[in-house]
């Protein structure tokens, strides 16, 4: 889309609200749905990748040091990674205002 969604007027909508640009869902910030955020103690991390496998959003990747970490632009804060982590690396903390 040429403009951010919040600036589009009804005249900017394509016929039948068709999305003509493939893959533009990646521009959609699902991270603002989050009420809790994952925090990491990488000293405990064994880089097993279980969090990466379980993340329903597919937003976990390896950082420069090879540790697995969520992309907060997409992370919805479900906490599944924290629940599944076998070594207790991940703690969910409330998002502040």
């Amino acid at each position: 889309m040429t403009k951010p969604e919040g600036e589009l007027t009804w005249k900017d909508i394509d016929i039948g609200a068709i999305v003509s640009e493939p893959g533009n869902a990646s521009q959609y910030r699902t991270g603002d749905w989050r009420s809790e955020r994952p925090t990491y103690d990488f000293t405990k991390c064994i880089k097993c990748g279980i969090c990466y496998i379980f993340c329903p959003e597919g937003c976990i990747g390896q950082n420069a040091e090879g540790y697995f970490e969520a992309d907060l632009f997409y992370c919805k804060g479900c906490g599944i990674c924290a629940h599944e982590c076998p070594t207790g690396v991940i703690t969910m903390v409330a998002e502040e205002q």
Partner: protein
């Protein structure tokens, strides 16, 4: 040389769809619409119409298949009635919101319960707000003409909307009527090939029917409102051109001996022709009565309606559907609303009648008009009356 033929109106609609050279027909048979799709299935099976006929398992699937075929740019037709139209309900909104042109003949039928396969307009009124263009026809010729017009209107690049063509179940669908079919060459010229601007195609992928968060949904709906309202200009243009070519003229609100009438009756669909007989009789007796018929139900013809009734003292509206617990009939309710802010307007009295196949004869329309006059003078403790009901 065109020839006038006697043909059942359902079959005539099927032949009109053949003349329009439809590409896909997806339908589920339901009374009183069955003969339309049965005839089309036969035309396809016999190789007389080069189209895909999709025999689906329900009307919900019929309408869903039509979405797909319209989206790839195929000329699409379906037909239904009554319960079938209601089973399509949620998909009807999708067709109009996604701006997918298709034509659907609806052989208007009552809704259960109690089970009734006979005609009234309950099915139409339940899908009133689904965003489709909706046209009522009154006779067999009208049904053929407006089936052709419906393709042309809906597929116009300025419109791109689905169109319902409403005909009275049984009263019209099963009548044998004289019909003049246009020549194939005339239809080919009148109806250019359908070309969807952004079709589903692997070479240029698009997403149709994606979700819209609160930040964009209102804008999508406003675009839809403007688009449906603007279709009226194209509808008028289409009827004008159809009239120029074929000599038969249609307009959003049609009048019959109404110009100087003090009392007007308002109807929709095939019962209007019976009402004309009544108007002729009462005019012959020196009574100042006339008839107004709404042909274009959506987009609603506000200006034409106001113009048609402004000089009358009394407007009697006949509905063939009920808004239970509401203001009576949906047509009366809309007409009243359209006139409310007008400085000069008639008094409005609503009747519901012709439900579930109950006939209204010319004498019946006379009773309705006389009772309407009586109620307007003496008042009534009811919002509306059901005509002919045994008390």
């Amino acid at each position: 040389m065109v020839k006038r033929v006697g043909i059942e109106v359902s079959l005539a609609i099927g032949d009109a769809v053949k003349l329009a050279n439809a590409d896909v027909i997806a339908a589920y048979p339901i009374t009183p619409q069955t003969h339309i799709v049965e005839h089309l299935a036969e035309l396809v099976a016999n190789g007389e119409l080069d189209a895909q006929y999709i025999p689906v398992e329900s009307e919900h699937s019929a309408m869903s298949a039509c979405l797909g075929s319209s989206a790839v740019g195929a000329r699409t037709f379906t037909a239904t009635a009554g319960q079938g139209l209601e089973l399509m309900h949620e998909v009807l909104y999708v067709a109009s919101s996604m701006r997918l042109p298709m034509v659907m003949a609806v052989a208007n039928r009552a809704l259960s319960a109690p089970l009734s396969v006979w005609g009234d307009q309950s099915d139409v009124m339940a899908v009133r707000d689904t965003g489709w263009i909706q046209i009522f026809v009154e006779n067999g010729q009208d049904a053929v003409d407006n089936t052709l017009c419906a393709f042309r209107i809906g597929e116009d690049p300025r419109v791109l909307l689905p169109v319902m063509v409403h005909l009275d179940g049984f009263y019209l669908s099963h009548m044998i009527e004289p019909v003049v079919f246009p020549e194939q060459s005339q239809v080919d010229k009148f109806l250019p090939p359908y070309k969807y601007p952004m079709p589903l195609h692997p070479d240029k992928p698009v997403t149709m029917g994606a979700f819209a968060p609160p930040i964009i949904y209102s804008e999508a709906k406003k675009a839809q409102v403007i688009n449906l309202e603007a279709s009226k200009g194209v509808i008028l243009e289409c009827w004008q051109e159809f009239g120029n070519i074929f000599g038969r003229h249609y307009s959003p609100v049609e009048r019959y001996r109404s110009e100087d009438a003090k009392v007007l009756l308002l109807t929709l669909g095939g019962f209007s022709e019976t009402a004309m007989t009544t108007i002729d009789k009462m005019r012959g007796e020196g009574k100042s009565v006339g008839l107004v018929r709404i042909r274009l139900w959506r987009p609603f013809p506000f200006a034409e309606l106001r113009q048609a009734v402004k000089n009358a003292e009394l407007l009697i509206v006949l509905d063939r559907a009920i808004s239970f617990g509401g203001p009576g009939g949906p047509v009366c309710s809309e007409v009243r609303s359209a006139l409310y802010n007008e400085a000069k307007k008639p008094k409005i009295i609503g009747f519901v009648g012709g439900l579930g196949g109950r006939d209204i004869t010319p004498a019946g329309f006379e009773t309705i008009i006389n009772r309407g006059i009586e109620v307007s003078q003496k008042g009534s403790d009811r919002e509306f009356e059901i005509f002919g009901v045994r008390e």
